[in-house]
């Protein structure tokens, strides 16, 4: 076993998820199965290999700094669960 149930609970919280005890047990088994599978990559010596994060040979992509209309406030807020005084409203933060 690579990761324990307690670790799965901690990772779930990092991903902002709450698991039932049954889910915790099931995911522990499943995540271990996947981790065991991906361990295959350690067969390969990659010490001299550069990583690929993106396929394209792009570096900085520039465009002209033109003034153009952005998303109007009412449209940006239209899909929000709760709005107050033209802003997103959320529950207590601290």
């Amino acid at each position: 076993m690579t990761i324990t149930a307690a670790e799965v609970e901690r990772i779930a919280l990092l991903a902002r998820l709450k698991l039932t005890p049954e889910e915790q047990a099931a995911y522990t088994e499943q995540l271990n199965a996947i981790l065991e599978y991906v361990d295959k990559l350690n067969d390969l010596d990659t010490s001299a290999v550069e990583p690929t994060a993106y396929i394209l040979p792009l570096r900085n992509v520039f465009r002209d700094d033109l003034v153009r209309p952005g998303l109007p406030r009412d449209k940006a807020l239209a899909g929000a669960p709760e709005v107050s005084e033209g802003q997103f409203k959320v529950p207590r933060v601290v």
Binding site: R16, L44, G79
Partner: protein, 488 residues
Amino acid sequence: MNLCELTAHELGELLKSRQVSAVEATEAAINRIEAVDSRVQAFVTRTVEEAFAQARAVDAARSRGETLGPLAGIPMALKDNICTVRIRTTCSSRMLADWVPPYEATVVSRLKEAGAILLGKLNMDEFAMGATTETSAFFPTRNPWDLERVPGGSSGGSAAAVAAGEAFYTLGSDTGGSIRQPAAFCGVVGLKPTYGRVSRHGLIAFAPSMDQIGPLTRDVTDCALILNAVAGHDSSDCTTADLPVPDYRAALNTDIKGLKIGVPREYFADGLDPEVAAIVRRAIDKLAELGAICEETSLPHTEYALPTYYLVAYAEASSNLARYDGVSFGLRVPGRDIEEMNINTRTEGFGPEVKRRLMLGTYALEAGNYEAFYLKAAKVRTLIRQDFEAAFNKYDLLVTPTEPMVAFRLGEKGNKKPLAMAAADSYTSAVSLAGLPALSLPCGFSQGLPVGLQLIGPSFAEARLLQVAYAFEQNTEYHRRRPALEVA
């Protein structure tokens, strides 16, 4: 004449010569959806009124004598992770079940400009995570060739709708095989373009270093027509290539004499269904008969592609889907404070497959794990890319089975077994990691179910893929078969 049996370009000719109006074509498609979609379940949202309004506008423009493009008046539908204004875009998730985007995807704007008629939005695996369309939070889509079988995924609704005659073409998205695999399972043509060929602006992200939008169609000519309409640079997506877009339809011809085709032996190893293997071998013989030079070759890191894909895709997903926090759009489930609200929202909003991937991705990116998992995978990704580069020094394109098997039964690959889908993903994910274009086209039937042939090209060689696919198609009849859905 049953209009719904036609390809998009055949319908386009009838529209152009005014033998059929856009309203009649739209009526035919909507009647077809009403007749079969209760069984196929491809559509998440239907946009009947909007479709007729668009059709009337196209007919009016035509009667004014305006010059219209080849897609004007042709009804189509979109995978439900492609943003549409005024029409909800759900990703087949509870998280976005009622969300109406404030802007539309570039591909949608381009198709609208071309006069496309939008019939609705199509079912998918939740957030494009899955290979069966069973992880949809709403309902599973069924394979029109056998309603007890899956259509593949994640663009299952997009493939099923085309196969069932419910739309003349659709758009899907492909991160690790999500266009090609359902295209193979449903017997249609599906193209994943080169990374950067088609704008992702307005495509809801799963793994942005691999996500690409592409067409699902009834034949190769349609595929070329749709790619013509959607490909090209977009200032709203800085990863689109600033390269000229050839006329893909004009590039279609059947002369493939002397073309060098590599057949990587790793794609014919254990786990490949023998009947699928035989059908694909016969398809390769056909290409040789047409003058191509087919040779066995090797992509030595193939067996590492899927574990690499899992780590890269899940890591990217875990960081991308952090935005679903109940604050600015989508679902909110209340909590005492903001953190509890975040947790409640994500716990109720995401299904089990998405949660599993987010947790694995979070783990792979965590301090202390990053080097061992994400960075390791990024390095192996380089080796996989180099395999293809070496192969394309010798060959014009590569050919493989799209999938090692035909469509399986609903529920056969249980959600409880995370690696049950591994075989289905393993033939398509290497191409995604390398950002290459690949096309699946029907190349035969095994026990009445379609088998797909995957053509893989070097970057931006879509015209060559389409040409070889066209040569094969013009010399075979598989693309003319339609599922017998009437016999319920």
